[in-house]
């Protein structure tokens, strides 16, 4: 194979002006010919044939003859392959295929949503057909395993919020209002969002990967042949787990975030803990807290739904699982922000 490059240049050079007629390729000088050289010769003969040149391999020695015969048998397939090369797909066809793919994805999403809704009602009628015993384990994985990072990141969110606002507040002598700013923003928006983002990356991705693997290994089909609905057996417990866990994590995150803000208030704004907490109690209403908790529960349901739906839609083996896991995280993040916008407007309009 090390001689392939100069060899290829040499034969192309010799054949470049050939049009029609006959050409013999003399192998008598070749003591050893390997598969790479033979493959190049087959390609050369196919190109010559397209130009109307009839060619033959001649003079092959006794040692070289077997490999020449072997590759000559593949020449028909090489000629067929080049003649039947895949035609380029036009723009209109690509748009059509893309539209069809979107429509198909939308159809599968609607079917999945409907089956899940049906399954949720079915849980109360026949709870044995739901893997309810899995919920504590899922709560532990999504909740306790994720707690350290949720606490740390929300603490840092509180720190950042207080720091970013400290200059402006100090300018107007409004230092004490740092607790209002931190308290209301983290309870209503930032902690639910940050907790959801973390859960999306941990739990949403995990659900997509796990269920995607089950899909490609036919385990979902096996569930169906046992008479179990995969939505009821697998998806309902996961949605329930995240709906339970998300508000709890958010509430703990709220505590850490206001603590972070309090630390900055004490160190940078000379606001002591007592003054900070007193102002906090006056500014943050219960409605601010439960607004954030309701958002969290909705985010949790959406993350679980999307992770499971992407897992169920997996095709294409291990690479498909990877693609769907990534899609689950990206789609969850987009959906969370979308839902947050809608719920924020809703709560403001209806006075909460």
């Amino acid at each position: 194979m090390g001689d392939a490059v100069p060899f290829w240049r040499a034969v192309l050079d010799a054949a470049k002006d050939q049009r029609g007629g006959k050409l013999d390729i003399d192998l008598s000088g070749a003591k050893v010919v390997d598969g790479a050289i033979m493959s190049l010769l087959v390609e050369l003969r196919a190109e010559l044939a397209r130009r109307g040149v009839s060619s033959k391999l001649v003079g092959a020695s006794h040692e070289v003859e077997p490999i020449v015969q072997l590759y000559e048998k593949t020449e028909d397939k090489a000629a067929d392959g080049s003649a039947k090369s895949t035609p380029r797909v036009g723009l209109v066809e690509r748009v059509g295929r893309g539209t069809g793919a979107v429509a198909d994805a939308a159809r599968r999403l609607v079917v999945f949503t409907g089956e899940l809704a049906f399954s949720v009602f079915g849980v109360f009628r026949k709870p044995r057909r739901t893997d309810l015993g899995r919920i504590p384990l899922l709560v532990a994985q999504a909740g306790t395993d994720g707690l350290p990072i949720v606490l740390l990141l929300n603490f840092l969110v509180g720190v950042v919020m207080a720091y970013q606002s400290s200059n402006a507040l100090r300018l107007y002598g409004a230092n004490v209002y740092v607790s209002d700013l931190v308290g209301i923003s983290v309870t209503r928006e930032l902690c639910p969002l940050m907790t959801a983002i973390i859960m999306s990356g941990r739990s949403g991705a995990a659900f997509a990967a796990e269920l995607g693997t089950m899909t490609v290994q036919e385990e979902l089909d096996a569930l169906r042949t046992i008479g179990l609905s995969p939505q009821r057996w697998l998806v309902v417990p996961r949605v329930a787990a995240l709906v339970l866990v998300a508000p709890v994590l958010t509430l703990l995150g709220d505590v850490m975030a206001v603590s972070g803000g309090g630390a900055v208030a004490a160190l940078s704004l000379s606001i002591g803990p007592r003054a900070y907490l007193s102002e906090l109690r006056g500014s943050v209403l219960p409605s601010d807290v439960w607004t954030g908790l309701v958002k969290s529960a909705v985010f949790g349901a959406a993350i679980a739904f999307i992770g499971c739906q992407q897992g169920f839609a997996t095709t294409g083996g291990a690479s498909g699982v990877g693609r769907r896991t990534t899609a689950a995280v990206v789609t969850s993040l987009f959906t969370i922000v979308f839902i947050d916008t809608g719920m924020t407007v809703f709560f403001r309009v209806f006075g909460k």
């Binding site: 036919e218 385990e219 169906r224 042949t225 046992i226 008479g227």
Partner: protein, 244 residues
């Protein structure tokens, strides 16, 4: 036991098998044979109710197409890779159908599961996870799970794929035991002739180019077939046209 009439299966605009008609008698071992890409596994999915046919009908015991989910399974299925649930032990996998579809107490469920595993020679593996099992053990465990509810009909998808000849022979012997001793009708999808011809009662041969059944009969009848495609399949040769 199974009646298939004028069945066309595949996906919209792309049928892989057309106008297929055949019957499977109760108590026999029936094979669906054909080369790779001939539609065997697709037909399998339609027979067990995982997909809807494009045309035609399938009847199980004269009562219409198999209906999954929502009702107690009337047959058992073994998938090509076993499809055991990875987060459950082998014993829990086998016990699951019993827990869902019977009112038996837990102790009885576990005893029956152990009995099924004993039948397939895997009682010692009941506490292992599927990831700890070899290929042959996975398939035997999957058969035990498929037999949990005492079905009279069993579907097996490529049971010998990925197995060495000895393990494959053990699985064949198990199929014969299930059929002859327990009266289970066994429908096997396979392309492994060496394994299946010694045990099967009747078979059909699918052809991928023509997208239809090209032969039906006992192994002896099929091996004597004058049809060039059937002959090429059974003699494991390239067809006279040079296509392989």
């Amino acid at each position: 036991m199974i009646t298939v009439k004028d069945l066309t299966v595949g996906w919209s605009g792309n049928p892989v098998l057309e106008h297929a008609s055949f019957e499977v008698e109760g108590g026999e071992i029936f094979a669906i044979l054909g080369r790779s890409g001939s539609g065997k596994s697709t037909l399998f999915r339609f027979l067990v109710g995982l997909e809807e046919p494009l045309a035609g009908s399938i009847e199980l015991r004269g009562v219409g197409a198999p209906r999954l989910v929502g009702g107690k399974p009337t047959f058992g299925v073994m998938f090509q890779g076993g499809a055991l649930f990875g987060d459950m032990t082998v014993g829990e996998n086998v016990a699951l159908p019993l827990e869902i579809w019977t009112q038996l107490p837990r102790q009885a469920v576990l005893a029956i599961a152990r009995g099924k595993l004993r039948l397939v020679g895997l009682e010692a593996a009941k506490d292992k996870l599927p990831s700890d099992l070899s290929g042959g053990m996975l398939k035997r465990a999957a058969i035990a799970r498929a037999m949990a509810l005492e079905p009279s009909l069993l579907f097996l998808d490529e049971p010998s794929s990925g197995l060495d000849p000895v393990t494959s022979a053990e699985l064949d012997a198990l199929m014969v035991t299930l059929c002859r001793s327990l009266g289970v009708t066994v429908v096997v999808v396979t392309h492994d002739l060496g394994s299946i011809l010694g045990i099967v009662d009747r078979a059909i041969v699918l052809d991928r180019a023509e997208k239809r059944i090209v032969a039906t009969g006992s192994p002896a009848e099929l091996q004597k077939s004058q049809d060039r495609r059937v002959h090429a399949f059974f003699s494991r040769t390239v067809e006279p046209s040079g296509k392989s």
